[in-house]
Structures are given as C-alpha cells and as structure tokens.
Amino acid sequence: VELSAEAAFESFVASSGRSLLRTAWLLTGDRGDAEDIVQTALERTAYRWSTIVGEPEAYARRSVVNLATDRWRRRKSRVTEVPLADLTGRSMPYAADDTSLVDLRAQLLADLRLLPARERAVLVLRYFNDLDEAETARTLGVSRGTVKSSASRGLARLRATGSRLERQPAATANSEGAT
C-alpha cells in the first residue's frame, strides 16, 4: 500500500509539480524561494497524502500560497536579497525591447511583485491557475467578496502601469523631436 501511495504521489508531482513551481515563482519572484516552497508544500502533501480529501493539487496549492505569504511576511523584516540574475538583467525573460507590448508584460510582472501578498495571490490564482472566484476563495481561506475586491484593487494598480507605458512613447517622441 505504501509503495502504491508513493507511486501515486510521484505521479501527482509529475503532473502538478511544474504548475505549483510556476505559481510559487509568480508569488515570490525568486526561483530559489519557489523551489523551497514547493518542496515544503510537497512534504506536507506527502505527509497527509492518505488523509487528503479532494484534489491533492488544491491542498498543495494552498500550502504554496500560505508558505509564500509567510515568506513574504518574514522577508519584510529582513534585508532584501537581490538575486545575481537581477543584477545582470537576465532575471526577466523580457529584456528591453522596442515592442511596447513586451515592455508592458515585463512591467506587469514587475509590478505584480510589488502588490500586497493577498492581491498578488488572487491575481496569480485567478489568471494563471485559472481558478474561479469560489476556488480562489477556498484556496486562500477568504470570502468571495475578498477575492473580488482584491482582484479589483490589484488590477487597478496594474492598469496604472499600462497607462504609464502608453504615455511613455509619446513623451519619448516629443523629446526626440525637440532634439
């Protein structure tokens, strides 16, 4: 029985591990932290594997979100760590590009990391994991109203990023014309 359970768990990790890792990375913005969080979440899932009711991925995802929130809280009182990749400009897949859309996406991801933990989690769960409001609320342990308001506030802040980027080319054009 133990062997079959372990096999089922490995199968679960094979199917959902990447999604969990991507979720953790989107929540933390750091690959090392994301891997640690996924590892811990999977340990918890493995420990409760035989008692988990429902989808184990939901349990693991909730663990990931909680661990990311805890990490975010701890990180606030610690010195900010700057990954070496960020210093070399290769942490983001979108480098400086003359395409405004690419710039917009890069800026959206950067601003996503500046959002409060709950708003960031709501946006990741809603638009990356494609969870509906009820599932998002269950994962976060909050009400649907909280999910709605958090998503609304988060999108409003990200929308401000889009506005800035839309104004930027015009400003750049004006400055070029002046020279």
Partner: protein, 406 residues
C-alpha cells in the same frame, strides 16, 4: 484588443515557461514527509510523546512563547481578580497600621506638683497622625471635658453634611475624691478607629454602651456623613480607675489606627491648692476678726477690701480644686471612628482653617486624583492583558489550524 487580464495571463505564462521541476523532487518530498513522523504529528500527539519522555520539545519556539504568554496573562488576571475582592477593604487598614507600626514611641508625663509628686508616666502608643494629634494638654482637655457648654449642650451641626449630634449630661463626679492626700492622676487619651463600611453608627453605639457599662457616661457624641464618608467622634468619661478598661474595650470595637494616652499626677497640685485654700480661709477669718474691731469708716473699708481680695482668691482656688477633682475622678477618652478606606478622620479639635485648610484640601484632592488615575491605569492594564492573552491564544490556534490545513 487584448485586455489587461489577457496580457497579465500571457505575461505570467510566458515568464514562467522555462521553469522545470528539479529532478527527484517527488522522492525527496515523500522521504522528507515520512522521515520523522513525530515532527509532523498533530499538536496533541506530540505533547503525549513528550510527556512519555521520548524526545524533547518539538514545538516551534514562537508557539511556546505565545502559549506561555497567554497562560501568564490568564494567571495574572485570575490573581488580580482574586486579590481585588480584598484589596479595597484592606488597603486603607494596611496603610494605616503600617504607619502606626512604623511610628515612634514616646513617653509623655508631666509633673505639675511639688516635691511630693509621684509622676506615673504612661506610654503613648502609636503615632501622631499628620494634623497635630499631639498629647493632650492639661488645659485644653480640661476645658474640652469640663466646660459646661460642652458637657451639657449639643455641639452643633456640620452644615451641609446633615450631621447628627447628641450630647449627654454629666452624671456628676464620683465621690471618691474627698480625701486630700489621696493620689490623684488625670488620665485622658484619644484613639482613631476604622470600621467596615456601614458600621460607624453601630461602633459609636457600642462605645456609648461601653462607657455606661464602666460606670461612665458620654460627654459628647458627634457623627457626620460628608461626601459619603461617615465619621463619628465620641468623648467618653469614666471613673479613672476604669480608664484602661475603656481603652481596651474601645480597641475591640474596630481596627485601631492610632492611640494616644497620657497620665498626669496632680496630687501635688491638689495638696498645694488645699494648703493655700486653708491659709486663705485662715487669713479671711483674721481679717473678719479685725473687721469686727474696726472703729472708723476708713479702717472698716480697708479691712473689708482685704477680705474681698482674699475671698476672691479662695473662690479661684476652690474652682481649680473642683476642676482637678473632676479631672482626677473621671478619665477622658476621645474616639474618632471612620470607615475603612475613607479619608483620614481629622479630629474636630485639630481642624485647620484659612490657608492651611486650603493647602491641606488641595493636597488631599491631588492625592485622591493620583489614586484615581493609578486605579484607572490598573484597570486598563488588566483589559490589555486580557486582550493580549486572547490574541496570543488566537494566533496560536490560527497557526496550528493553518498548518493542519496545509
């Protein structure tokens, strides 16, 4: 036209596209999850394991700190409530008795006679409260105890407080003072008692009964209720031989916060006055004899003037002897009764006036205000402790539940 939500979704998907699960993650997670069963057991199970002595404490430190803080706060609150019931009644008494025990012990004895005087000084126990509860001077106490206006009439009311005043007539001096050579000692004293709430009048009645039981009487009784703090002042007079019994009896009626007693041997003074009285009477008799032999008007007037002067001196000495006889026949005990926790009773004989009274009042109000602020802060601190305890327990429960939920 793509929406912001679409762009965000695309950005997140594309940005995390290259992330891959490290090799062996599932095996490591499974092994870690089942490596130490006790590490991830429920809280209750871990506690049982620890009680059995297998392994040390496995709780996260912050949980232990929160739990300990919660229990400590609850213990403090319970202790405060347990002690709170007695604090009000005992605080005043403790403070008063503390001052009393820490006070100085003095001996007061005044010799007022000549060589034949045998002074019997009595100890003055307790302390003299701020407000000049000095040893009672002979003159003032004599005047207070024997002035007809105080002995036979009411002492007046205390204005707005609605005081109740009663007086008792003198029952006369005892007849044991006829002998000139008997030892005569004037004994008087004052005492302050605190009694439980609502027992002032009962205590005053008890003191009255005590005096009557000892063959004495109540020279003055005064009760008042100012600002919800009933007080009573009773002046008892009893045979001087029963003075100690009266003191010990009064001590049993309440909690004694101060006691001042004094004894003055007036035997010598009494003998002197009697001797002077006899001499003056003999002189008067001589003048009267001379007056009977006077032949001229001038001689008659002159001798008559001498007789009147001597007669005046005789009457003065007779008055003094009467006072001394009265004083030495009956002892005087003044008892001030107040409720425990109420402001200190100020003897009516030592009430302040003018600027002194205003200063004393302001100091008292400042002290009361400070007490009120400290009392309020104590309550606030108690409430904060309760809130902190609930917060700590709630935090602990929240953490445990969230860990159990994943």
């Amino acid at each position: 036209m793509p929406t912001l939500e679409d762009e965000l979704r695309t950005a997140m998907v594309e940005a995390s596209e290259d992330l891959t699960v490290p090799d062996g993650l599932a095996a490591r997670a499974w092994a870690s999850g089942h490596r130490d069963e006790t590490r991830r057991q429920p809280v209750g199970a871990r506690r049982r394991t620890n009680r059995a002595g297998r392994g040390g404490p496995r709780y996260p430190r912050r949980h232990l700190v929160a739990l300990g803080a919660g229990f400590a706060a609850i213990a403090i609150v319970v202790t405060a409530f347990a002690l709170g019931g007695n604090s009000t009644g005992e605080s005043a008494g403790t403070a008063a008795s503390g001052s009393g025990n820490g006070g100085t012990t003095a001996i007061h004895g005044q010799a007022s006679g000549g060589d034949s005087l045998t002074t019997a000084p009595q100890s003055v126990r307790g302390y003299l409260p701020r407000g000049a509860r000095a040893p009672l001077a002979n003159g003032s106490k004599v005047a207070a105890a024997l002035a007809p206006g105080r002995l036979h009439s009411a002492s007046g009311t205390s204005g707005t407080s609605g005081s109740a005043t009663s007086s008792a007539g003198t029952s006369g001096t005892s007849g044991s003072t006829s002998g000139v050579t008997a030892t005569r000692v004037v004994k008087d004293g004052s005492m302050e008692l605190t009694v439980p709430k609502g027992h002032v009048q009962a205590t005053v009645d008890g003191l009255v009964s005590l005096a009557k039981g000892l063959g004495g009487y109540v020279a003055e009784s005064h009760t008042s209720n100012v600002a919800g703090s009933p007080t009573g002042n009773v002046t008892l007079r009893m045979p001087v031989t029963k003075f100690e019994d009266a003191v010990s009896g009064a001590q049993k009626t309440g909690h004694e916060t101060s006691l001042t007693t004094s004894a003055h041997d007036v035997t010598g003074k009494f003998v002197d006055l009697n001797a002077r009285l006899g001499a003056l009477e003999r002189t008067r008799q001589t003048y009267l004899t001379i007056l009977g032999r006077a032949t001229t008007i001038g001689q008659t007037l002159e001798v008559q003037q001498r007789v009147e002067d001597v007669q005046q001196q005789i009457e003065q000495i007779q008055g003094s002897l009467k006072v001394l006889r009265n004083q030495s026949a009956d002892g005087t005990l003044t008892v001030a009764v107040s409720e425990a926790g109420s402001p200190a009773v100020v003897n009516q004989q030592h009430q302040r006036h003018g600027i002194g009274k205003a200063w004393h009042t302001s100091v008292q109000r400042f002290t009361r205000g400070t007490d009120a602020i400290i009392a309020a802060l104590g309550t606030l601190l108690l409430v904060l402790l309760v809130i902190a305890a609930f917060a700590a327990i709630s935090l602990l429960g929240y953490r445990v539940m969230r860990r159990a939920a994943g």
